[in-house]
Symmetry: C2
Subunit: 229 residues, 2 copies
DNA sequence: TTCATAGTTTGATCATAGCCGAAGCATTTA
DNA sequence: TAAATGCTTCGGCTATGATCAAACTATGAA
């Protein structure tokens, strides 16, 4: 009768097979696009889009627009906890059914993401920029610091030209395979272009894979050192 | 696509508002009848019956037939855990909405349950019989021991007559107000009748309440001592 | 610009399932 | 035995919502 703690609303969200498939696919913390999730759920894209809206409105998912992609993640650990508890109850054949992103090892290593570097090395670059204090991530926003501007200029980038453009300078981009942020925005594009011009990298014409030359790999590691270097 | 761990089936069960009301009403571990749960859920009895069947089939509830009543309990702690997790997610106005059984204090103290003693004193009697090794509870079944037979005979019960009857001698009966077992079956009935004949108790003609005389109360406490006596 | 891709919205279809009342059992009471 | 109570089952109504195709928007690629 009286308004309960709305336990049914949330349960009903999980109660649809399609939506449950979506949620279980996201259980490992990765973020997936609407199309990927549509395939996971076994429904059409339009249907999945509706499901994803409902799940987001219901607070179970956290959407993240990324250019023409839209990534979805579980909202927080509580959601994952509930799902885990439900899976425990549904003591059945425990199949994980994870379908990881790019199968190709080369693609996982490095690839273009629209116009910037993605993959393991893209993430490495972004983390290195953070660790050196060149960029600062505040929530969704990423800002370039003064030392970062110096670094970019030293890297051979015309920062004045970039700053006049209307496109955002720095953006965090969720990596498809690593599921971590890497650097997008006009600076990300510029860095990629510059590395290409320097001969560090070349593109596989048949895929989005990015190939590093030997010297390019060395230079990259020197410019963007990882962890305790 | 492929058969998931059926997380959606269970979630769908919880996802209906009526069933969610039923489940939350059972969250404190008590057992409620179908009629009570129908009222809790705010639906008709026939509707509630359907819900209860589904919940039982789905393994969320454990039904227990009791004469013409049917009590329902949460199946186990896992179920309660999932519900609790869901309630946590649905961070809303946390209203408990418990509606305890008999309001009348006298009824809670002692009343007839069909033909035997129920209420606080009924539970006391049953526990005392257990503690003294007169009856042994094995799951749902309750058996009278040899010493228990002696005790009953000494109490003034014609055990030979009882044992020839087709009705079960001992049965565990779920107490309405205490939500614990008390003794039913032909022995429970015989004990009640005997206490009545002895003048220990008398029945309120307008309700199911059982009134103990002063001496009756003393004799009862002596015959069925509680705990560390 | 023009084309392609990703996603949303709309509209229509259709199946599921919640709901109730009435009839049917089963059990207890009288 | 007959009446009352507790619950289940059945039939029919209805509403919700899942689904897809097609049109539309937005972004990126050429």
């Amino acid at each position: 009768m009286k308004e309960g703690p709305d336990i049914s609303r949330i349960a009903a969200l999980i109660g649809d097979p399609g939506r449950a498939n979506i949620l279980t696919a996201l259980m490992d913390g990765r973020a997936l696009t609407a199309s990927e999730l549509a395939e996971e759920a076994g429904v059409g894209l339009s249907t999945a889009s509706g499901h994803l809206s409902k799940l987001s409105d219901g607070g179970l998912l956290r959407p993240r627009k990324q250019g023409r992609h839209k990534y979805f993640q579980l909202a927080d650990d509580d959601v994952a906890g509930v799902l885990e508890a439900l899976m425990g109850l549904a003591a059945r054949t425990g199949q994980t059914r994870v379908r990881t992103g790019p199968r190709d090892a080369q693609m996982q290593q490095a690839r273009v993401c629209y116009n910037h570097l993605a993959g393991r090395l893209g993430v490495q670059m972004y983390r290195s920029l953070q660790a050196q204090g060149y960029v600062v991530e505040a929530g969704e926003a990423v800002t370039l610091t003064a030392s970062g501007t110096s670094f970019a200029t030293a890297f051979g980038i015309d920062m004045a030209a970039l700053q006049t453009a209307r496109a955002p300078l720095c953006r965090a981009c969720l990596d498809w395979s690593e599921r971590r942020n890497h650097l997008a925005g006009s600076l990300g594009r510029a860095l990629f272009t510059r590395m290409s011009a320097q001969g560090w990298i070349s593109r596989d014409p048949n895929s989005r894979a990015v190939l590093f030359s030997l010297s390019g790999q060395r230079a990259f590691d020197a410019a963007f050192p990882v962890g305790a270097t």
